[in-house]
């Protein structure tokens, strides 16, 4: 996967309001997002897959995601897969915790708070595995810190509500096709001095394909359209 804006892992919690396990997912997600791996993770509210825009629905195709569910209905995992993309990992509280005394959805008991610790730790391990980094416990940071792309960090903050993934609509054989992350890819290529041309097209398409499935037999048409858009992008920036 290319080094686009700093690679992060998306966390999607079910947040189920009616059960203590739902609160465990919510607090465990927040523990990871705010304390354990704040620079490596980002989240989105589950309902935004339906209520939000195309950029929101692209979330799990852009970020490798970890779904955290309170029960075996697995709303977060199934909802993410249904509307966005298959989660890279899935954790269910009732599988991870062997107690029924978590408190209430509104107020977790001590056992409930311990469950938050356990689930948060599991999520953190998954984050590290997905990012392929070793966590330096002494330093309190990953041993190989990735560098965020200039100017992009603020756009993709902890909460993705309303920001979504940048989408660009491209005319292709008379139809409008949405490309995920295309503006970011163009920006990265241009910043690297890779100008439009035959040498760049192949590499550009390899990157584009990471986030955008290309139908069989349409590679050439897609490459032509992306190259055209990239040329226009570079001309606009000059």
């Amino acid at each position: 996967m290319p080094d686009l804006p700093k690679k992060k892992v998306g966390i999607v919690a079910c947040s189920g309001e009616e059960m203590a396990e739902g609160t465990v997912t919510r607090l465990a997600a927040l523990r990871v997002l705010e304390q354990l791996r704040p620079n490596e993770t980002v989240t989105i509210c589950l309902p935004l897959f339906l209520a939000g825009g195309e950029g929101d629905r692209a979330f799990a195709r852009f970020y490798p995601t970890i779904a955290i569910d309170g029960c075996d209905k697995r709303c977060a995992a199934r909802g993410t897969e249904m509307y966005s993309g298959k989660p890279a990992a899935s954790i269910v509280v009732t599988d991870a915790i062997q107690t029924n005394h978590l408190g209430t959805a509104r107020r977790l008991s001590e056992a409930g708070m311990q469950a938050v610790d356990v689930v948060a730790e599991q999520v953190t391990q998954q984050v590290d595995e997905l990012l392929g980094v070793k966590w330096d416990r002494k330093q309190g940071q990953s041993s190989k810190e990735a560098q965020p792309a200039e100017g992009l960090e603020a756009k993709i903050a902890t909460c993705s509500c309303g920001s979504g993934i940048p989408i660009q609509k491209v005319q292709l054989d008379g139809q409008e096709v949405s490309f995920i992350a295309l503006p970011l890819i163009f920006e990265q290529f241009r910043d690297a001095g890779k100008l439009p041309g035959d040498g760049t097209t192949a590499e550009l398409m390899e990157t584009v394909k990471v986030y955008n499935p290309i139908p069989d037999g349409q590679e050439a048409a897609y490459a032509q359209a992306v190259t055209r858009e990239y040329t226009a992008f570079c001309q606009e920036k000059n």
């Binding site: 309001e17 919510r26 989240t43 339906l50 209520a51 909802g79 509104r106």
Partner: protein
Amino acid sequence: MNRVVIVPCSGIGKSYGTVAREGAYVVTEDLRPDTTQLVPLSLLVLGDEQARADVSGAQAITIDGCKLACATKMVAESGGTVAHDLAVLDVYRRHRNLKPAGIAELNKGGQRLAQALAEEVATLVDEMTGEVKNA
């Protein structure tokens, strides 16, 4: 009469989402436990049959934490009737001294804002059910 369905946003990125959630608990557990019912948004996202039935067979009050209004949109999409849609930000505008902070744990201002929100919802519930109570 069916209970009034309360659907809060399940926002996880902002304090307003937590206020919506906490306010919904105050209404359904403390203020109007006999006339309201909490329906989780995640079940509506998944199209859970029971949750959809609960929503489609009753009047709903939605509580949204941001302008994207997920709760309101999801209830409408699930075949429900949104009798009232409240935005936490609007409630905050009416109570500017109650500034919420924190997501995992609300500050005092956030807790009091959730209580104020819940009292507004309770009043609406009473109007809908024809009951008069002191919130």
